[in-house]
C-alpha cells in the first residue's frame, strides 16, 4: 500500500474504512444531557462500551464527503436506466419534507395535518391512475406489488374460488414472480408477441379456471404500449380473473391514459419513478397500491378516514382487509415529496412530463437506431431497448458498452434486461434531460460503437476514469467478506 496512491490522488483520495479513521478519545461531541445519570445504573445486562469507531467530527465529515465524491448522482448527469427511471429530483420537494422531521406518529394533533396531506395524495393518485381507492403504506415498488397481490389473493379466497395461478409475460420485472410467490401464488410465464407486446390471443390460450390474475407492465419494459390491453382485460374479467398492472412505467402516460380506464383492477406506483422522489442509493422508496372499488375492502390497514369534524383520523378496523403491511404509515416523508411534486406542476405539468419523456426517448432512439441493433422496430414511448448483436464477432458485449459510458460521465442504461432481448441495453432518458445532454449521450454511444469495431480490446478495459476499475464480483462472492475485521 506504500507509494503515491496513499498520499496523492487529487481529487479522489483513497478513503480508508471508518474503523481505520480516528482513535480512542477522538470523539469529543457534547450531547444533550437533560437528566442526571446515577453513578451506578441499576439495570440488568449493561455491557462494555459498544464496539464502533471513535472519530472526531471533522473526520466523520471528511470521510463521508469523500465517499460521496465516489458516487454518481442525478445532479451529476444523465442516468438513463430503463424502467428504473432516474429523473431530476426537485429541491423544492426536499424543503417540503422538512416540516415532517420532528413529528412523532403518536402526536395526534400534528398527525391530523399529515393525514390530510396523505389523504390528498391518495385522491390525486386515484385521479391520475383512474382508480377508486389507494393505500400509501407499501414502502417500495416491490412491497406495493406484494401488497397488491395479497389484495387479489384475499379477494380470490373470499370469493371461494381458491385460484392460485398468476400469468406473467416474459418481459416482466423479476420482482413480479417473487412477489407472487410471497403472496402464495404460482406463476406461469407467457410469451409476448414478436412485435413486443402481449396479444389477447396469447392470454386467451393461457386462461383457465385456476388463473387468479395477469400481471402486466404498461407501457412494458420494451417501452411499447400494450395496445391490446382493453381486450386482455375483457378476457380476464370474463374468466373471473383480475388484471394487475405494475406501474413502473406510469411516467410515460401521465395525463394521457389512465390504467383504470384500460380495465386494470389493481396496481402499484413507484413514487421515485413517476413522481421524482429521490432514490437514495436504494431507497427509501414508495409503492402505493391502487384498486377498483370491488377490491377496496381488502386494502391494508389502517385507513385514513374523515373524523367527522373536518379533520382526518386512522381507522384500524376492517375485517376483510389483508391486515397491516408496515409498522407505521409507510415512507411518509417520501409520500409527502410526491404530493409536493404533483402540486408543484399541476395537471398540465404532469401531461407535459409524459410528453417530454416520450419525445426525449424517441429523439435518442432515432439517433442510435442505425448504430446499434434495435430488436423491436415497434414504436416506443418513454424508453427503448437496443442490443449488442451488431458487435457479434468483435467480442464487445453490452457490459463493455455500459462500462465505457462511465468514461463519458454517464450512468449506464439498464443492462441485460428485459430477458427477451439478449445483451439488452434499455435506455430511458426521462423528461428532465436537456437536448444538449441527449446529443452528448448520442455522441458517446457513437464513439463506443466505432471503437467496438476498430479497437474492441480497449473497451474491455473500460472504465478507466472512475474511482475504481472493473470490480471483481466473483472474488466478492467467493470470499464473502461482509463486515470489517
Amino acid at each position: 500500500m506504500a507509494g503515491r496512491d496513499d498520499v496523492a490522488g487529487f481529487p479522489l483520495i483513497r478513503e480508508p474504512l471508518l474503523k481505520d479513521v480516528g482513535a480512542p478519545g477522538r470523539n469529543r461531541r457534547v450531547l444533550p444531557a437533560p437528566f442526571d445519570v446515577p453513578q451506578a445504573v441499576d439495570l440488568p445486562g449493561i455491557a462494555v462500551l459498544p464496539d464502533i469507531p471513535d472519530v472526531s467530527e471533522v473526520e466523520t465529515v471528511r470521510h463521508f464527503t469523500r465517499l460521496s465524491d465516489l458516487n454518481y448522482g442525478v445532479d451529476n448527469g444523465m442516468y438513463p436506466l430503463g424502467s428504473c427511471t432516474m429523473k431530476y429530483n426537485p429541491k423544492m420537494a426536499e424543503a417540503m419534507a422538512e416540516a415532517l422531521k420532528p413529528v412523532h406518529p403518536g402526536d395526534e394533533a400534528a398527525m391530523g395535518s399529515v393525514l390530510g396531506l396523505l389523504f390528498l395524495l391518495q385522491q390525486h393518485l386515484g385521479e391520475i391512475c383512474g382508480m377508486d381507492a389507494c393505500s400509501l403504506w407499501p414502502a417500495a415498488g416491490a412491497h406495493g406489488e406484494l401488497t397488491g397481490m395479497m389484495v387479489i389473493r384475499r379477494a380470490v379466497d373470499a370469493g371461494g374460488s381458491g385460484r392460485r395461478k398468476v400469468l406473467i409475460p416474459d418481459t416482466a420485472h423479476g420482482t413480479n414472480p417473487a412477489s407472487c410467490a410471497v403472496a402464495g401464488f404460482v406463476t406461469e410465464n407467457i410469451p409476448s408477441g414478436s412485435s413486443g407486446f402481449l396479444t389477447a390471443q396469447t392470454v386467451e390460450e393461457h386462461l383457465d379456471g385456476d388463473v387468479a390474475a395477469l400481471m402486466i407492465t404498461n407501457p412494458n419494459t420494451l417501452g411499447i404500449f400494450e395496445e391490446e390491453i382493453s381486450e386482455i382485460a375483457r378476457l380476464l374479467h370474463e374468466n373471473g380473473s383480475y388484471l394487475y398492472m405494475d406501474g413502473a412505467n406510469l411516467n410515460a402516460i401521465l395525463g394521457v391514459a389512465r390504467p383504470g380506464d384500460m380495465g386494470v383492477d389493481c396496481m402499484h406506483v413507484n413514487l421515485h419513478k413517476t413522481f421524482a422522489t429521490p432514490h437514495g442509493g436504494g431507497g427509501p422508496g414508495g409503492g402505493p397500491v391502487l384498486v377498483k372499488e370491488g377490491l377496496a375492502p381488502y386494502l391494508p390497514l389502517p385507513r385514513i378516514v374523515n373524523d367527522g369534524h373536518g379533520g382526518f383520523a386512522l381507522d384500524r378496523e376492517g375485517p376483510e382487509s389483508i391486515g397491516m403491511v408496515h409498522s407505521c404509515l409507510g415512507n411518509v416523508a417520501i409520500s409527502i415529496r410526491a404530493l409536493a411534486y404533483i402540486l408543484s406542476i399541476g395537471p398540465s405539468g404532469l401531461r407535459e412530463t409524459a410528453k417530454a419523456a416520450c419525445l426525449n426517448a424517441n429523439y435518442l432512439r432515432s439517433r442510435l437506431a442505425g448504430l446499434y441493433d434495435l430488436p423491436y422496430p415497434t414504436p416506443t414511448l418513454h424508453e427503448f431497448v437496443l442490443s449488442d448483436r451488431a458487435f457479434k464477432g468483435t467480442g464487445v458485449s453490452t457490459m463493455d458498452v455500459a462500462k465505457a459510458l462511465m468514461d463519458f460521465s454517464f450512468h449506464p442504461p439498464t443492462v441485460y434486461f428485459p430477458l427477451v432481448v439478449g445483451g439488452a441495453l434499455m435506455i430511458e432518458p426521462t423528461e428532465t434531460e436537456p437536448i444538449e445532454e441527449l446529443d452528448r449521450f448520442a455522441l458517446a454511444m457513437e464513439d463506443i460503437a466505432r471503437r467496438a469495431r476498430e479497437n474492441p480490446e480497449e473497451l474491455h478495459g473500460a472504465p478507466v476514469t472512475t474511482p475504481v476499475g472493473r470490480v471483481d464480483e466473483v472474488l466478492a462472492a467467493r470470499s464473502l467478506i461482509l463486515t470489517w475485521p
Binding site: 471508518l18 417540503m96 442509493g281 431507497g283 408543484s344
Partner: protein, 434 residues
C-alpha cells in the same frame, strides 16, 4: 410549471428529428379508446411559498410517544451529509465503479450493525422492524421442520400484525402468542417452556413493547437447543448502546428497527429495518448485501454480492421479493454512529434510561405507579384514563401511545417514552397533570 428543460421550439425540433410531424404524435402508439380526455382533476401548479404554507405541520409541545419510533438528538452533520445529492439521488449501486460511496457506507453500516447486535452478518436494510420480523419468520419457515411461529405478546402489536399478514399468505404456518406475566411485564417463562419445540421458530422483543427488559439469560436457556430457530427483535436500536449485544445470547437472527440511529421521526416513516444473522445463514437471508473485493488493478473495492438469492435472478424462488430498501436511512445510521461514537451512544442511551427513571419517581411521588414491576429501559407502561389523556393532548402534551386497543386486558393505559429530547421540566409538567 414543470421540470421539463425544453422550450416549445426544442420540443418541435426533437419531434421532427424523430420523424414526427407534431410533438403530440409521440403518443400515437396509445389507442384512442383508452386516451384520457381533458386535464386531470388535480391541484396546482403551485409556487413554493404556497406549498410551504400547505405543508406546514406543528408538533405538540412535549412528546412522550415512542412505540417503535423514537425522537432522538440527531447531530446536524447527519442531515448535511445525507442530503448530498451524490448519496441522496443515486440509484441502487448495481454499477460499482461509480457507486463506491454508497457501497462503502453500506459496508460500514453492515459492520457496525453486526458489532452492535453481536452477530456475524448484517444485510443492507429492510423496510422496517415489522417486515424484518416477518422476513425473519419466512426465513425460519424455509428451514427444515419449522411449522409454527411463536412470538411474545409483548412484542410490538404492529409487528405481530404485519407478521400475520405475511404468514397468512405464505402457507399453513400458525402464529402463536407467548403471554407475559401481569405483574412483571416480562415473558411468562413457564408458558414459553411448554410452547417451544423443534417445530417452532420463536421471536422475542427486548426491551419489549412495554419498555420492560426481558430476562434474556433465562429465555436463552429455555429456547437454545429446544426451539428449531429463534430470534431477538430490537425495536429501539439505541438499547444496543447500553445492553449486552443480543447476539451474545445465541439467537439465529437479530432483527428490528434502527430508525433511532440518525433518522427523524418523520411522522412515522421512512423507518429502517435491520436484519442480522449468523454466517451459516447468510445465503438464506433476505435483502441486499455488500461485500469487500478488489478492482481490476487490485485496489480495495466494494460491490453487491450474493445476488443469486435475490428476485432479479432467482425470481419466484428468491429469498424475498425485496428490491429497493431503505438505503439512505442506512447511510444516516452510519453517519449517526460515526458522529456519536461508542461513548456518545452509551451516553444517549443512559440519558434515556435516566429520564425514564426521573419520570417514574416523579409519578411515584404522586401515587402513580407503572403497570409492571420489571426493569425498564426508557419506556414505561402507565395507567391513564382516556379522558385525562385527551386533556393532556389538548394542552400540547402527548403522554404516550395508548395501549387499550392492543391490550384491552390492561385497561386504559399508555406506554410513555422518555428520551434525551425531553427535559426535566417536561417530565414535571407531565407528572403534574397525570
Amino acid at each position: 410549471m414543470s421540470y421539463v428543460p425544453h422550450s416549445e421550439d426544442d420540443l418541435r425540433r426533437m419531434a421532427s428529428a424523430a420523424g414526427l410531424t407534431d410533438p403530440e404524435d409521440v403518443f400515437s402508439p396509445i389507442p384512442r379508446a383508452v386516451r384520457h380526455r381533458g386535464p386531470l382533476s388535480v391541484g396546482g401548479p403551485l409556487d413554493e411559498e404556497t406549498l410551504r404554507r400547505l405543508f406546514r405541520v406543528s408538533p405538540s409541545r412535549a412528546v412522550f410517544a415512542g412505540g417503535g419510533v423514537y425522537r432522538h438528538h440527531i447531530p446536524a452533520l447527519v442531515d448535511a451529509l445525507s442530503s448530498r445529492q451524490e448519496f441522496s439521488t443515486a440509484y441502487t449501486p448495481y454499477q460499482p465503479e461509480i457507486s463506491q460511496g454508497t457501497l462503502q457506507a453500506l459496508f460500514e453500516y453492515q459492520s457496525m450493525m453486526a458489532a452492535l447486535t453481536g452477530m456475524e452478518v448484517s444485510n443492507a436494510s429492510l423496510y422496517d422492524g415489522a417486515t424484518a420480523l416477518a422476513e425473519g419468520a419466512l426465513m425460519a419457515l424455509r428451514g427444515k421442520g419449522i411449522e409454527r411461529v411463536l412470538v411474545t405478546r409483548a412484542t410490538h402489536p404492529a409487528y405481530r400484525k404485519v407478521l400475520e399478514t405475511y404468514l397468512s399468505r405464505a402457507g399453513d404456518a400458525v402464529v402463536e402468542e407467548v403471554p407475559f406475566c401481569r405483574d412483571t411485564g416480562r415473558v411468562d417463562l413457564g408458558a414459553l417452556a411448554s410452547a417451544v419445540g423443534s417445530d417452532a421458530a420463536f421471536f422475542i422483543q427486548n426491551p419489549n413493547y412495554f419498555g420492560v427488559l426481558e430476562p434474556m439469560e433465562e429465555v436463552a436457556a429455555a429456547v437454545s437447543g429446544t426451539a428449531g430457530f429463534w430470534g431477538i427483535v430490537v425495536a429501539e436500536a439505541l438499547s444496543l448502546g447500553l445492553f449486552r449485544p443480543p447476539g451474545s445470547f445465541g439467537p439465529d437472527v437479530v432483527v428490528g428497527e434502527a430508525q433511532s440511529f440518525g433518522n427523524h421521526a418523520n411522522a412515522g416513516g421512512p423507518l429502517l429495518g435491520f436484519f442480522c444473522t449468523r454466517r451459516e445463514h447468510a445465503r438464506r437471508m433476505p435483502g441486499r448485501l455488500v461485500g469487500l473485493t478488489k478492482d481490476s488493478s487490485g485496489r480495495t473495492a466494494f460491490c453487491l454480492t450474493l445476488s443469486t438469492r435475490e428476485q432479479h435472478i432467482r425470481r419466484e424462488k428468491a429469498t424475498s421479493n425485496i428490491c429497493s430498501n431503505e438505503g439512505l436511512c442506512t447511510l444516516r445510521a452510519a453517519l449517526y454512529l460515526s458522529a456519536l461514537g461508542p461513548k456518545g451512544l452509551r451516553s444517549a442511551a443512559l440519558q434515556c434510561a435516566a429520564g425514564a427513571g426521573e419520570l417514574t419517581s416523579l409519578l411515584r411521588d404522586r401515587g402513580i405507579f407503572p403497570l409492571f414491576s420489571g426493569p425498564c429501559f426508557h419506556e414505561i407502561a402507565l395507567p391513564l384514563k382516556e379522558g385525562k389523556r385527551q386533556a393532556l393532548l389538548a394542552e400540547g402534551i402527548v403522554p404516550g401511545i395508548p395501549l387499550v386497543r392492543d391490550y384491552p386486558e390492561l385497561g386504559e393505559a399508555v406506554v410513555t417514552a422518555v428520551t434525551e429530547m425531553n427535559t426535566k421540566e417536561e417530565c414535571r409538567w407531565l407528572a403534574g397533570m397525570m
